[in-house]
Each structure stands twice: as C-alpha cells, then as structure tokens.
Amino acid sequence: MTTFAQIFRSIIFDKEIMKEVSKVIKNLVLIIAAISSLQSFAFSEGQDEGAVNTKEEVSEYINHHIKDSHDFHLFSFTNGEGERKHVGFPLPVIVWSSNGLVTFMSSEFHHDDNGEVIVEKSGSKFVKLHSKIYELEEGATSVNLDESHHATNAHKVLDFSITKSVVGILLVGLFMLWAFSSLARQYKNKSVPTGFGRVLEPLVIYVRDEIAKPNIGEKKYRQFTGYLLTVFFFIWILNLLGLTPFGFNVTGQLAVTAALAILTLIIYTFSGNKDYWMHMLWMPGVPVLIRPVLAIIELAGAFLIKPFSLLVRLFANISAGHIVVMSLIAIMFTLKESLGVAGATGLSLILSFFITLIEVLVAFLQAYIFTMLSALFIGMAVAEHDHEHHHDAEGHEIPDEEDVRADFI
C-alpha cells in the first residue's frame, strides 16, 4: 500500500507532470467555456417542427436555406426531453424603422420565422416573417396574415442587418485583403512569391491574361483589371464558401448579384467612348429610318439586358446548385421507405458527391463567366473602332484579327 501511495504522490507532485496536467485542464476549461457560450447563444426555445423528414419539410428547409438569414445557424438536434435545440449564434439586426435606426440581436426573435414573436424597440414593434423583418403598424399587437401568407398590418423595413450573407461578404473581404496584400508585400523582397502567394499569383495572371487583356485590349486593360480581379475572386471564393457546410448562399442572393451587375453597368457606361455612344444611339452604315429603332434596341441591351443577364445568370446558377445538392442529400430521408436506409443513404451520398464535384466546377465557371462578360462589355465600350479597315485585292473588308468580340454576343 505504501508503495502505491508513494507512486501516486510522486506522480501528483512531479513538476513536469503537474505542468502537463494543468495545461490539459486549462484546455478543457477553454473548450467547455466555448461550448457553453455557444449554448448560451443557442435558441433553445424553438417551438417548432422536430427533425426534417417529409418532402414538404425538406423543400421548406431548402427554401429557407437559400434565403438570407438573420442568425448563424449551424445545426439542430432533439435532446433527451424531446426538445428541439438549435446551435448557432445570433447576428446584429440593424433596421431603419419609422422611429429611426434600431439595433438589437437576432436572438430576440427566438428563432421564430412566422411573425409570432414580437420585439419592441424604441417604440416600434418588429416581427420576423419568412426571413424578412416587418414593422407592425401603429396599434397592432400581432401580425395578421392573409391567405397567401402576406402580412396585412405590417410593412417591411429597410434592413441593414449583419445577416449571414453580410458575414460571408465580410469574411471573404477580409480574407482577400489579407491574402492579396500579403502577396503584394512579398514582391518587395523577392521577385517570385513563395508559399500561398505561389498559388495566388498564377490566378492573378490568369485573370489578367485570359480575361482582361483579350477582352479589353492591350492598351486599356490596366485600369479595369483591379475591378475584374476583385469581382472574380469575390464571386469564386463566395461560391466555394457556399459549398461548405456553413451554408452561405451569398452569390445566390439577388441583392448581391444585382449590386455586382450594376457596378459593371456603371463602369462600362461611364468609360464608354464616342464610338460606343455613336454606335448605340445613331448606328452608322444603316438606313436613317432604322437608326432610331436600333437605338432603342441598343439602349435596352446596354442598360437592361446586359446587367440583367449578368445578375440572373449568377443568381440562378448558384441557387440551383444549392437546391440540387440539398435535394440529393434529402434523398436519404425521402426515399428511405422505398430503398431502405442503406440504399437511400448510398444513393444520396453517391449522387450528392458527384453533383458537389460539378458544383466546384460551376463555382469557378460562374466567377469566370461573370468576370469575362464584364470585361467583354467594358471592352466593347472602350474599343477603338478602326474605320479604315483593311481591304483585300477585291475590295472586301478584312476584319481586324483581334476584333472578334462581336462574335461572343
């Protein structure tokens, strides 16, 4: 017995081991603190649903996912008492209401999305309905819904909240700032970057040489390359972020793609040269009577169709990708009865694995297409039209070799 006690004491009082033990305890405390803080953010009073099982629940869940949300939801589970727990953290809500700017945390809605929880702040009452924040009209105490689920006694407010999409944008923005400014700093000391910069540099060169230069032209590409590079990496990284289990769907938000498309519109409209406006408003080389008609078509093309095609293409591709991936994952539940648990799970895993591979390609492709088309539109606006075309022996025009842009439209 004494020997055991001695060994025990020697272990306890051994300095090295004490250090190790205290380290382990410290780490454990930290982990527990982190978990409990996450739990404290958790919206445990969720009164809803339970596990997502039926087809309707699945499509409801997918619809909810592709929308923006006011809290960062990681996962949900049902605990021992049959209570539904949601783990995640709340995000700040910033709205411009009839009583001015109002801010509070989204946890005050207690994970309600049906307009049942009313938050009263600075004299205004807010509810959250289908991921949108509504302000109740004067005197209303609860939200009234018509048969198509629209609020009749509440109106939408201008919502500047730090939503999940804004978090995604901020994260990607910070990441890009960190990554590319560290790449830029590397050039001060060495001409060839090392480490992560070695991965980034070819991508930058790719955008410059394959997107900016061929579409805008050697002479003018430089001043637009900054915008094109930013947009390319912004869209690409956000698309990839959307494939992670965090479930960002930033480039699948119309507001985000619209902002991107409108910025491109502004850039090519304001950098358009005389030839560009001439060809748009008073097309040379066609009968005078047709010119106004062409002008209308050209104006519609430049101000509506081009930006609209940009914003819808990106939005639709990314949203569709998310819906398809999530639907294929949902095969696990929806086909459980007909295929059995193993069959449904296997099928779901195989299909969603391959579609995710395709989505990784689509993530790049959509970033490339958006940037390429932006560069193309800018290139068309700044192109120098060489009116003295070369003529061959029979007097036919030889098109300029570089000027193949029109073929892409």
């Binding site: 289908h130 201008l158 700032l177 400014s181 830029a184 938000q253 507001a255 619209a258 910025l263």
Partner: protein, 166 residues
C-alpha cells in the same frame, strides 16, 4: 417572379454595394496595383534578359566569325611568307650557282692563259736551251769532229738528219 422580388433585400443591396466598393478600393490600393506593377516589371525584366542573351549570342557569333576570319588570314599570310622564303632560297641558290660558274670560267680562262704563257715561256726557254745545247754540242762535236775530218762530216750529216726529223 413575385417571390423573387419579395426576396430582394434593398438593405442587403446597399450593404453589398458599400462593402464591394470598399473592398475594390482597398484591394486596388494595397494589392492589385503593387501586384500588377511587380508582375509587369518582372515580365519586362525577363524580356530584357532574353533580348540581352540573344544579343550576347549574336555578339558571340560575330566574334567567332571574326576569329575564323583572322585565323584564315594568318594562315594565308604564313602560306605567302613560306612561299616567298622558298622563292628567295631558290633564287639565292641559282644566283650562287651562276656566280660560281662565272667565277670558275674566269679562273679556268686565267689558268689557260697562264698555261699558255707558261707554255710559251717554256717553249722559248727550251728553244734557247736547245740552241745553247746545240751550240755546246756543236762546239763539242766540232771540237771532236774537228779532230778528224770524216768524223766532222759524219756528225754534221747525222745532226742534220736529226734536225730534219724534228
């Protein structure tokens, strides 16, 4: 369409526009401008280095050609010098031979002249000695012969015969 419009969040649009503009501004200032400038610098540097290498190669080739030409020239010069030397040698030899021949001829001629004169002198000498001898013989003979008349005559005859034979 209605759901799409309903889903469109003007607030998010404003936030996204502001953040995107800020991101573009910061990235252009701190990343794209230095990166693109360094890339351009590096590319022009590489191009210049390649051109310099090309020029060095051309220079090298010129140098090689020069060397070859100089070698050729040196070889030709040596050839010419050798030929000249050979010619000089031959000329010298032939000249010497000529000289020697002339000298030899001259010497031979002299020798012949000397021999001739010597011969003449000798002949003259012989003649005078013969004359003296003949005189002394004649004296002796005369002395002898003159001792007897027959003998004197006989001797005269005999001598005369000898002279005739000569």
């Amino acid at each position: 369409m209605e759901t799409l419009i309903n889903d469109f969040s003007p607030g998010l649009f404003v936030v996204q526009t502001i953040l995107l503009l800020g991101l573009i501004f910061l990235l252009v200032k701190f990343a794209w401008k230095p990166i693109l400038n360094s890339l351009n610098e590096r590319e022009t540097g590489i191009q210049e280095a390649l051109a310099a290498a090309e020029r060095a190669k051309a220079d090298m080739q010129n140098l090689q050609a020069d060397n070859d030409r100089m070698l050729q020239e040196a070889r030709a010069e040596r050839e010419a010098m050798l030929k000249e030397a050979r010619e000089i040698k031959e000329k010298m030899i032939s000249d010497s031979k000529e000289q020697a021949k002339i000298e030899g001829d001259k010497m031979i001629k002299q020798a012949q002249a000397t021999i001739e004169s010597e011969k003449k002198a000798a002949v003259a000498e012989i003649k005078s000695q013969v004359a003296e001898l003949s005189v002394s013989i004649a004296e002796k003979v005369i002395k002898e012969e003159l001792s007897g008349k027959d003998k004197q005559l006989k001797l005269v005859e005999k001598m005369l015969d000898d002279i005739k034979l000569n």
